[in-house]
């Protein structure tokens, strides 16, 4: 079809697709799904951090953590708005989240077990997210690309703060605190690597997304990039990762690393992570318990409009 050819030519020429432009249905659907997942991840990702918000150890950290959670809510808002440019509806997308039809990043199905996790989540989890998002700044859909540019700036800030939390504990903390940090990294290392998704060979939809430039780098390349940039930071911390095979490969110019336990990845994805139920229940309850508030706001707005008319 000529429309289709024209569309692909624009993509190939790195011209952004905008909301009003024609696009293949599959492109639209793929984008809606990916951006919704991304938006949901921002919202669900607030939960493991909220878990320590009321227990932050001092005012500075409390303010930082709250501001970070706020930023994530803000990212959620941009992203839902961007999804809506594609004709999707925020409430319908939330329904899909609540019914389990659309996922969020599986990393948030792990509990935050200590204050050190507030550092590790910032450093590793946001770090992995940024590696993804930096590339997505060049994604072919304009509103998504612009949302990513805005989000990336804040995420880098979060990542530095997370790293600072760990540095402070490792360099100035007690032995107990150092153990807390190492334990946290041990728990989050492999799940962070899984954030980039399955190996390219097991990622059947990637080719189409690459062609459409929704995706711009392969899962394995992104993962390698993340590891390469993270390990020097790890060494500066004075910590280790729970991977005996991790080693600098002079020849490749990259770190080699051990085999990822994909059975865990798929198990968590399927709903068996420690917190899947809890996370969904929290979101669902919040939505359900808030129904009367949304209805009231709606009713009030309608009355105001009528009075104004």
């Amino acid at each position: 079809a000529p429309q289709e050819r024209h569309f692909q030519e624009k993509i190939d020429a790195d011209i952004k697709i905008e909301a009003k432009n024609w696009m293949p249905e599959a492109y639209r659907r793929t984008l809606i799904r990916q951006m919704s997942q991304h938006a949901h991840s921002e919202i669900v990702g607030m939960l493991p951090e909220k878990n320590w918000l009321t227990r932050a150890p001092n005012l500075k950290r409390k303010l930082q953590l709250l501001a970070k959670i706020q930023d994530e809510a803000g990212h959620g808002l941009y992203l839902y708005s961007a999804v809506e440019t594609l004709g999707a509806d925020r409430d319908e997308e939330l329904e899909k989240l609540h019914s389990g039809e659309v996922k969020y990043s599986s990393i948030f199905n792990y509990p935050s077990r200590s204050w050190a996790d507030m550092g590790t989540i910032g450093w590793l989890v946001d770090g992995a997210a940024i590696v993804n998002q930096v590339v997505l700044q060049r994604t072919s859909y304009g509103p998504y690309s612009r949302a990513m540019i805005r989000i990336c700036k804040e995420e880098s800030f979060h990542q530095r703060q997370g790293y600072q939390i760990l540095l402070e504990m490792m360099h100035n903390g007690t032995e107990e605190q150092k153990a807390m940090v190492q334990d946290s990294i041990n728990r989050f290392w492999w799940p962070s690597l899984m954030m980039f998704g399955p190996h390219d060979s097991d990622s059947p939809n990637s080719a189409q997304s690459m062609q459409w430039k929704i995706k711009r780098m392969s899962n394995d390349d992104l993962r390698q990039r993340f590891i390469d940039q993270t390990i020097p930071q790890l060494e500066l911390l004075g910590c280790t990762v729970p991977d005996p095979e991790l080693k600098w490969n002079e020849e490749r110019g990259h770190y080699d690393f051990g085999a990822i336990d994909w059975s865990e990845f798929y198990s968590v994805l399927k709903g068996n992570g420690p917190c899947n139920r809890e996370r969904l229940k929290t979101r669902r309850d919040a939505y359900d318990n808030g129904a009367w508030v949304r209805e009231a706001a709606h009713a009030y707005a309608k009355k105001q409009q009528q009075e104004a008319a």
């Binding site: 607030m46 409390k62 303010l63 706020q70 809510a73 007690t174 808030g290 009367w292 508030v293 209805e295």
Partner: protein, 253 residues
């Protein structure tokens, strides 16, 4: 009582009320009725924590014992906390949270408006900065009172119940004791008479617009928070908030 001692106490009352209310607001994160409200609640909490830090840093400085705002927040027990009872009340449903917030915001607004003219420069500066934030808090919470009061039948009932339930904790904001007298005399803090009238006018106008009944101004009012006599819920809030510094006294974070 020296003015300095009185001022220290006064600052603790302000700072603690902000801290405790902000901590309560934090409990909503992840549970709010809509994403925009997660943001709004969080913003209010951020502002309150920030103002609390300023008040408590000043209080610590006046105490002159080398303590920090953190020491005050994480190292005092219930009996030493000086927050208003209204700030410690549990969240309840969204109407309860907003009723608490609105009555507090209205007081906070008029108080900071007066405090920005304090003869104490530091008080005036903190108040002036806070007032900008609290102006927004009050605009937001009064809008919600109207939205829920004049929304649906259900929201109207819930909001009326919320106002009726929180009302008994509103009077303490306007009460004065031996701490206030020397500070009022020195022009450091305002006399509460004018503020009380302003508060009553704002509340009665807002509730009327919201189609809600305003409880009697002469209802029985609970007191004690400012003197460190709190309800049973505060201890749990503090146990949670202070756990890490208490459990790891030698740690740096």
């Amino acid at each position: 009582m020296t003015t300095q001692h009185a001022l220290t106490e006064y600052l603790l009352r302000l700072g603690d009320s902000n801290i405790i209310l902000a901590q309560r607001l934090c409990e909503w994160i992840g549970h709010a009725p809509v994403l925009e409200e997660e943001l709004a609640l969080g913003n209010v909490a951020l502002d309150l924590f920030g103002q609390a830090r300023s008040w408590l840093e000043y209080a610590a400085q006046l105490q002159g014992e080398g303590r920090s705002a953190d020491d005050l927040v994480f190292g005092r027990n219930e009996r030493e906390y000086r927050n208003l009872l209204i700030s410690e009340q549990s969240n309840g449903n969204y109407a309860d949270t907003l009723a608490r917030q609105y009555l507090f915001d209205a007081w906070h607004y008029y108080l900071l408006q007066a405090l920005q003219h304090s003869t104490d420069e530091q008080v005036a500066a903190i108040a002036a900065k806070g007032l900008k934030e609290v102006t927004y808090h009050l605009r937001r919470s009064s809008a919600w009172i109207k939205r829920l009061g004049d929304g649906t039948e259900e929201s109207h009932q819930k909001m009326q119940q919320a106002i009726d339930d929180i009302w008994t904790y509103s009077g303490e904001m306007m009460m004065t004791d031996a701490i206030d007298a020397p500070l009022v005399a020195a022009g450091i803090v305002p006399d509460m008479t004018a503020i009380t009238a302003q508060w009553q006018a704002h509340v009665s106008t807002t509730l009327t617009e919201a189609t809600l009944c305003c409880p009697a101004q002469d209802s029985y009012m609970q007191r004690g928070g400012k003197q460190g006599l709190h309800g049973e819920q505060l201890g749990f809030l503090l146990a949670e908030m202070q756990f890490l510094p208490r459990a790891y006294p030698d740690a740096v974070w």
